[in-house]
Symmetry: C2
């Protein structure tokens, strides 16, 4: 069988349906579906996505037979409509649109009125007896073709138009006379020649072929590639091309064009919602030159057409069982549907629509759960930038802590404090932050840093405080002395306003209006449904009572990762921590540890209280010690003074502790083995806190977790230390504490020897961040530059730090599970890396049978929903 590239639709000759989106694109497949449903669509044909893929494989040339098929379909269309493409008497005009499997901004949108030239425009005028309409259509075609096919900036055409309006002192383009339109057409053509150094193509077939190629090529624009990268869409899919006979909304006051949603896309309210414009073509609505009318007004303007539209939208919603986004054109009081698709909506709207549709009996609860994008669920907990606001983007960094914030720039924590005392909103802008900045961070609305990744000090502290943070903005240069900073070419000074979007990583000029979050009953109901379905347990990463409380409120079933190092990120404690680290002799170290013990005990006491009845996984100290050390000479001086040593000696010690690759250095349980006193202090703090609370009737289930185990012997040694210390505390207090000891599986070797490690472990928690770093040999702090290029060039489809790499990492996890279960069938498995809050990763973790995932408190609802969706997907 030879390959078929072109599919017809409309006029009882429809070759596709809504299921064929992969082949026909979303737009084309739904046009075919509507035609089959008996809804009036202008007939046409679709060039398949396969044709596009073959076009790229053949280094941008049409596959054989494609053009022949196009010509054959065009002939059919001519016969059906009784018009002829390129004909000077009764010309057939077409609209050409791109249409990928999923809607995608950045690609070529639409060329309308294709087939017009000087001769056919005259024919159209004669045939419709409406010269003005024909000329209006022609000038629109030239500018659209000129822009999207020939690549001339649209503003150039608009400038000509605006100049002409100004000269004529008119407001709307509908007011141009035929004569003026003719002049405009000439001017547009001159513009094309100037820009391209070629004549505007008069041959309709050439116009069509060029446009189809332009649609194909638009698949590969920078913007389209970036969008695909950000949304995980494979570059090899390609786009379909829809060629559809024209209907005209610009044929006078009995014609119109419009867009509508079957329900409110912002709120979900069940009310037909949309707008239309009399005597206009599609692009006029988007361009906003005239103000469109609300859809209700159509009932007065054209009552019969409105009734038809209402019947159509209800039919479509009932058919698709989802809120639809429609495009239509009214040509001389006849309604034509040009597009239907699932309507984009806010998360709040998605929740309301889904719940309403369950109540209406349209969909099941399980279908409703699938309708809410889990990944965007936390939108509703954070302030958001008002989607209507116009943004001046200054830079994009890492979205390190979600939510939006606006305020005045300050460069030092002191200045932040000063202004905050005066009730000013400030944004702290630093090259990077350190524990000395904590008080500045705590009074700021948000944090912006030039350096550091998702696990940098700024990111970690900001997330813990629930403040937006954008980190790793490589174009940012801060000059603290001069109270200035530059973002690329733009210079900002202290007290200039900026806005941060910590979800997307965007840095925006000025203060932009924000929308404050609001939790609804609908959200709670949706969560209840998800609870019923999911089987994965959801825990939260929390290092303090505040986060723990939030996690509980959101439904977390325990703490899966309590990072003890974050407890030292406090101005007073850091001194003790530093003393402990720098100490050359055991005595000084022991003294510092003795002072840290009650502090840590108090930390755990508060967290255990909040988590009454739920497990709390405490990870023993993990990061390389030098992360705790001061960097600047002022900080070193300060510490040296307090420690009564010379700054020079201290500086030398700090220098000697620096590591070439700290990620692979002296950290994790390696610290606990070389400095057992540190771990002993931490375990004692956990056990003492737990035993005291248990005596008071609080249910405490500590799970002590050993980080960075590579070899079973490391785990054995630390386990022994934990058991010894815990038993000692239990004996002393006379309390029987129910505790577990487990380990992070975050190094490939640990996964590969999981059977050895499992023998003595109660649980495994996969540390997928570090496991990704080591399996890929990829430092999260350093990969920004080339990883983006990889995603851009399509070498990777996903950022492996966002969505777990099933092919590589997935194997390691499965190997570890299989091996561990062989020696200990009842061992528990969880995940505590960032992937624990990523829906695609949760789907994978559910599939391979993990017990729980742990994520940041704000991501708990996302994880609950994603876990439910994973079950539903698996059942399908």
């Amino acid at each position: 069988m030879t390959q078929k590239y072109v599919y017809a639709f409309g006029n009882e000759n429809t070759e596709g349906n809504a299921e064929m989106q992969d082949l026909l694109g979303g737009k084309g497949a739904n046009l075919a579906e509507m035609a089959t449903l008996g809804i009036q669509v202008p007939p046409g044909f679709i060039i398949s996505t396969e044709a596009c893929a073959h076009y790229f494989k053949r280094k941008n040339s049409f596959p054989p037979k494609l053009w022949d098929e196009v010509l054959a379909r065009l002939k059919n269309l001519e016969q059906v409509l009784g018009r002829k493409f390129g004909d000077t008497e009764n010309p057939l005009l077409v609209a050409v649109r791109s249409g990928a499997r999923v809607s995608m901004p950045g690609m070529m949108d639409t060329v309308l009125n294709l087939g017009l030239n000087d001769a056919t425009a005259k024919g159209l005028a004669k045939n419709t007896k409406n010269e003005r309409f024909a000329l209006d259509s022609y000038r629109r075609f030239i500018s659209m073709f000129g822009n999207v096919v020939l690549g001339i900036p649209g503003e150039k055409f608009e400038a000509v138009l605006a100049k002409k309006k100004l000269k004529r002192n008119i407001e709307f383009d509908t007011e141009f006379t035929s004569r003026e339109l003719k002049a405009l057409i000439r001017q547009f053509k001159t513009l094309v020649v100037r820009a391209t150094r070629e004549e505007f193509p008069e041959d309709s077939m050439q116009q069509l072929r060029m446009t189809i190629e332009a649609v194909f090529n638009s698949w590969n624009t920078e913007r389209a590639r970036t969008y695909r990268r950000l949304n995980g869409i494979p570059h090899e899919w390609g786009t379909a091309v829809t060629v559809q006979s024209m209907v005209f909304g610009n044929m006078g006051d009995t014609s119109a064009t419009g867009v509508a949603f079957t329900r409110n896309p912002a709120t979900g309210e069940k009310k037909f919602y949309g707008e239309y414009m009399i005597n206009a073509q599609g692009e006029d609505v988007v361009a906003g030159i005239r103000t469109p009318n609300p859809i209700e007004k159509l009932q007065q303007d054209m009552p019969e057409v409105y009734q038809t539209l209402v019947r159509v939208y209800q039919k479509l919603e009932n058919h698709y069982k989802d809120m639809q986004d429609l495009e239509f054109t009214i040509e001389n009081k006849t309604l034509y549907l040009l597009q239907t698709r699932a309507g984009k909506r806010t998360t709040a709207s998605a929740i309301k629509v889904a719940i309403d549709m369950v109540n209406e009996g349209l969909i099941s609860k399980r279908e409703a759960l699938m309708r809410v994008p889990a990944n965007q669920l936390d939108q509703i907990f954070h302030p958001m930038i008002d989607p209507k606001a116009k943004l001046k983007l200054l830079a994009t960094g890492l979205g390190a802590s979600p939510g939006a914030a606006e305020g005045k720039i300050v460069f030092t924590p002191e200045r932040a404090q000063e202004l905050a005392d005066k009730k000013e909103k400030v944004i702290l802008v630093r090259m990077e932050t350190s524990p000395e900045d904590i008080h500045g961070i705590s009074v700021s609305q948000g944090i912006l840093t030039a350096r550091g990744g998702m696990t940098s000090h700024a990111a970690v502290v900001a997330r813990a405080m629930g403040k937006p943070c954008v980190s790793g903005v490589s174009t940012l240069q801060v000059n603290v002395k001069r109270k200035k900073c530059t973002l690329g070419n733009i210079q900002l000074k202290q007290l200039d306003s900026i806005t941060l979007d910590g979800t997307t990583g965007q840095v925006i000029k000025g203060a932009v209006p924000l929308i404050q979050p609001r939790l609804t009953n609908n959200f709670l109901r949706m969560m209840d449904w998800a609870e019923e379905v999911r089987s994965l347990q959801i825990r939260a990463n929390a290092d303090n009572p505040h986060d723990a409380l939030m996690a509980r409120d959101f439904g977390a079933q325990g703490i899966g990762l309590c990072r003890t190092e974050h407890m030292f990120f406090d101005e007073e404690r850091i001194f003790l921590a530093r003393k402990m680290i720098i100490a050359n002799d055991e005595k000084i170290r022991d003294e510092a540890l003795k002072k840290l013990l009650p502090i840590q005990r108090e930390d755990f006491t508060e967290i255990f209280k909040v988590m009454d009845g739920f497990p709390v996984t405490v990870r023993l100290l993990d990061p390389p010690l030098h992360e705790f050390l001061p960097n600047s000479s002022a900080e070193i001086k300060n510490l040296a003074n307090r420690m009564e040593v010379s700054p020079r000696a201290l500086g030398g010690k700090i220098e000697s502790m620096k590591e070439v690759n700290p990620m692979l250095g002296h950290r994790g349980c390696r610290l606990g083995i070389t400095f057992p006193g540190i771990y002993r202090m931490q375990v004692r703090a956990v056990a003492e806190a737990a035993c005291k609370l248990i005596k008071k009737g609080v249910k405490v289930f500590p799970e002590i977790m050993v980080p960075l185990v590579a070899h079973v012997n490391e785990f054995k040694v630390v386990r022994e230390l934990i058991v010894e210390t815990a038993e000692e505390v239990m004996q002393k207090t006379g309390v029987d504490m129910n505790y577990k000891i487990g380990t992070m599986i975050e190094l490939p070797r640990a996964a590969l020897t999981a059977d050895e490690i499992a023998v003595d472990a109660d649980f495994f928690s996969f540390g997928t961040n570090d496991l990704t770093q080591t399996a890929f040999g990829l430092s999260r702090d350093d990969c920004g530059g080339f990883l983006n290029q990889y995603l851009e060039k399509g070498l990777l489809t996903h950022d492996p730090f966002v969505t777990v790499d099933e092919d590589g990492l997935g194997q390691l996890i499965c190997i570890a599970i299989d091996k561990a279960k062989k020696v200990k069938p009842d061992i528990h498995f969880g995940v505590c890396g960032e992937h624990g809050g990523d829906p695609a990763s949760i789907n994978f973790f559910n599939k391979i049978g993990l017990g729980y995932v742990s994520c940041s408190p704000y991501r708990v609802p996302t994880a609950i929903l994603a876990a439910a969706q994973a079950v539903i997907q698996e059942d399908r």
Copy 2:
């Protein structure tokens, strides 16, 4: 069955043999074997290694029944010998010795004459009618027991003895009178009381029990643990204890004690070799108080005993079929053997003995191959420190480039040059080296650095130049300005002499005599035999014609790793490399690459010429770019001048290129993907060099290797670039080059997805260095401190960077092989990490069926021999 802990030997009641070394220790098993052979040994019994292991498991207490068994065996011994332990009339005396499976320094050696006290000494005197002998034995016992059991430094006893000799003005202790010996005994006892605050134990049973415990405990001395760590001996083995009835070499002029080798341990010459001492006990020979006689003299002193000894040594050598190291005692003209074991020997001796024994029909060629320790084979290619020299050790660092060197200290390359011009031998001492030091390194005898590991600049350059290097000496502080350095507490100044041992990492005070290497026909014959047996191919790591030539001379069958980055470590080239890296725009980068192209082409031309007919695996640029950048402000200034940019801008650029974890950063094929020009230049250089030589009839087989692939798509992209460039050169030159494209498997993810990568790869080369780093999450540059502690504490039995970790890394390698073979059964596998020259690792690589290993040129013979031994071991 109850556990048996004690085994008898001698007097026709022997319960063990030479095969039972694991249980009885080497010493005990061979005593049993000799007894069975009919060779006269003093009877006794052996406490097994299991008893020792149980002793440690029970936290240093005897397992139940052990003491009862000892008492029972002691009773047997009393009956056989007709003497009684602790008896005042006819006392039985015993010698107690430690004996592990393998001989091990640092453990308790021997307590002789045990059973003596004031009363039994009198009995002995009466019974032997030799009071002097009894007193001499007693004073020896007190000092030995005092030293090895009670822990009193031997020097204290020696000091008392020396003082007494001085007072009496005598030379030898044999000259003491009985009266003087009695006084000495009193003084020794006082010394014991002073040191231990307890009386010397007079109870023989208590003496015995204490001594057995002391032997057990000596297994865990610092020195013993260190030795085991360095030699890969498990800590859980434990030591056996031999309790043997005493025979006396100090009973007068008809008695003697001695040691002998059945052949010369230094040269291998087939000649009985040894020494003895009349009227002495074993420790006298070692202590060197009197000069012993050469063994030949015994023929005159006691001709019959000598004949017996010759018969015994021949019997033993024929029985064991190996050169033996004997200890014997002659008591009143009766010969007793106290020990036989395989004699330690130099590598040269091992080779000669093995070949001679094949000629003598004693062993087969295959057995001969097993007799030479592959790991020490390269001893014979490097200058060695004369083993007879007394050394004053200053520090120990990493043995980064093998061989020994001595010279005067210099701190700058300029000074090195100056002195070298005057024909002085110099050692360059630096905190770390950089490409600016190259000319200094090239004129020095050896290099000593404070920083850097086995892959540091100094180490790499030194190995390439064949110069000894000790790196990573953390106690070294260099003050270039003051022309001084300190090593711990010791200060050295310019022109002081030092000696380096780049094999062991030792830094030694002063100029020590060195032995120059000499290759023998025996060595060549041994290599020929190994060639016949081995199946693994052996290639060499070589980056220049000099190394390539050496590799060929040693029998390498190709270059398995040609590191192209080392080609830039040259003062002139580094400038171009730096320019290329720092370039902000493509044009400047391309210019630098254009200038580098002919240089690289010339490099490859020379290497290909040398390797005519053999494959050369060229690895494309691998290290993080910032490794090429200047560090010091002087270097930065210099480069900025040459590049005509401001030092400040350059410094900023360099700063911005620094990475947190360069090991996991922007390196390997990531560079080739983001800066394709670099790889294109390298491939062009390879292809142009190859094609030109092929035209001239040289047989060139380039294998282009892509480093640090984590994902198949990386390999695909680089492969395409290689093919394009290579095809272009081939077309232009009209030459058909037979080349391969493969990849390093050095990241866990690559191993796990080897089936995907294998599809387009001609070969895999396991980069076991990086694979170890990532699988373990262990930075080779940073792990020094805690890894040593791990080895010390027994958490790891081997340094995984020296011997491949079979449990973890081995799995990854096997997974990769299995997966790759499934999609491409004929794909080639090799290893190019440092493990390629380690015999234990080679054994593993042979077992799992790799095609080749690649190692440094000097290690090629080691690898050839180890590969042969691996085959022999597998066949067994």
